[in-house]
Amino acid sequence: MLDSLARLGRWGLGMFERLGRGHLFLLSMLGGLHVLVMRPRLVIREVYAVGVLSLLIIVVSGGFVGMVLGLQGYNTLVGFGAEQSLGTVVSLSLLRELGPVVTALLFAGRAGSALTAEIGLMKSTEQLSGMEMMAVDPMRRVVAPRFLAGFFSMPLLAIIFSAVGVMGGYFVGVGLLGVDAGAFWSQMQDSVDFNEDVMNGVIKSLVFGFVVTWIALFEGYDATPTSEGVSRATTRTVVHSSLAVLGLDFILTGLMFNKF
């Protein structure tokens, strides 16, 4: 009994210690954000690595998710004779939820894990230590540009995901199932509000971009500098950021659309 209590206490202390380290890391990272103004090239290079190289998976997934939404939406709506509203269902589902959330989950798996592995390996091969000894702050030179790249890339990827998804829904609904093209677009135009739907989706993806990139970079920086440590850190990045995205999505949806 006492042993269990002691273990629980150790676990709790360890968790709070990590949480504290994570927040100190965030503060230190935010202190290096002037890199965007001082050396925008560093940020642009990282936008290519985390954003542009994630495009393929985002476009393909967006297309398939849109097509599945088209199929499922049609099957449900046709029962009520409301298949003309397919454009509304597809676009609102993508803009409000699936676009930001699925993009963030894919981003955590594709770019987040790569960031953790890269930083973790830089740590284990003493590259970060070497930079410090060359009087170059790795938080400013390595971490901050990657953070900014993740933060800016996520909303752009989410918008691309939603746009491709709408095209996928259109292809299935109009091209294969015979929904009227005019009704598809006009109903969508009529029911989608720029601030309520598009901007809220963008805000969600900005928050997800912030959190996923923060977790990925922290896990890499805090990784035990061994191959096993980096492997564990990479797994933790995917698990923790996926859970954080889903939890935050619930809170943000509540605040944005239900006003509780």
């Binding site: 830089m122 590259q127 230590s129 000894m133 060359m134 009087a135 170059v136």
Partner: protein, 266 residues
């Protein structure tokens, strides 16, 4: 140049330094030697301000490293070079860009001048022809030479070598030994060589410190140490398997352990 006074450092409950004192003089090659796990690399990290001691002070060129603010510490580090055991080259940059890295980060020199400087540093380590290779294409010895070129890119006042001879073939080892000595003499560097490779280190060192159990156990020139009567120094310098540093890890009595018949179920 460097004064270490009453240095105490521990990791958790394990004491690494327990009142270490040493002096490193300008323009000389000082070797810090001792068995694995005695904290030689830790000492370099303490001198570079990457770790903080629990007690004691380290002064480099008159400045107390651990009392400096971040800006001052980084300014001091620009005048220190460090050669890591692994080389610590940036794997996404070519050999040329690795050597140019500190110049591009800390100076506003035009690219043409940076090119000339990098080629001069690479020429000094014999790798001008390897400028376009990536770190993954280099052998261990070449990586260490590139790292050495990078360490001297900003013309530092001192350079710290962390196990520079480990894992090298005899030819490469000879090259590194010569390079360290030649650089030290040619540009009046202060060199600190942390190593447990006795022969190579003693061949270039002006002063030697032997450390064990968190303290300096012997100090002097290589010639003086060769004549020392200390058992510990003799064991270390001659590579004897048993002596003051025992061959056996502390354990229960051998006979009793065997007669025990596995009763402790291990």
């Amino acid at each position: 140049m460097i004064e270490v006074r009453d240095l105490h450092f521990a990791r958790g409950s394990r004491k690494i330094f327990d009142g270490l004192d040493l002096d490193i003089h300008a323009g000389r090659v000082t070797a810090i030697m001792g068995p694995s796990g005695t904290g030689k690399t830790t000492l370099l990290k303490l001198i570079g301000g990457q770790l903080r001691p629990q007690h004691g002070s380290i002064r480099v060129d008159g400045q107390d490293v651990h009392r400096l603010g971040r800006g001052d510490l980084y300014r001091l580090r620009r005048r220190m070079g460090m050669l890591f055991q692994s080389g610590a080259l940036l794997t996404d940059l070519s050999v040329f860009d690795n050597v140019a890295f500190p110049l591009r980060e800390h100076t506003r020199l035009p690219e043409r001048m940076i090119r000339d400087l990098v080629l001069m540093k690479l020429e000094a380590v014999g790798l001008r022809g390897a400028r376009d290779l990536m770190p993954a294409e280099l052998s261990g010895g070449m990586a260490r030479r590139v790292a050495l070129a990078r360490a001297i890119a900003l013309d530092p006042m001192m350079i710290m070598y962390d196990e520079p001879f480990t894992g090298l073939d005899p030819i490469t080892m000879g090259t590194i030994v010569t390079l360290i000595k030649r650089l030290n003499d040619a540009i009046r560097l202060t060199s600190i060589v942390v190593s447990h490779d006795v022969r190579e280190t003693l061949s270039i060192a002006d002063d030697v410190y032997l450390i064990a159990d968190g303290k300096v156990v012997e100090r002097g020139t290589p010639e003086a140490l060769a004549k020392t009567a200390s058992d510990w120094a003799n064991q270390f310098l001659q590579g004897l398997p048993d002596g003051p540093v025992p061959f056996h890890y502390p354990a229960a009595d051998y006979r009793e352990d065997l007669m025990n018949g596995g009763r402790d179920a291990r």
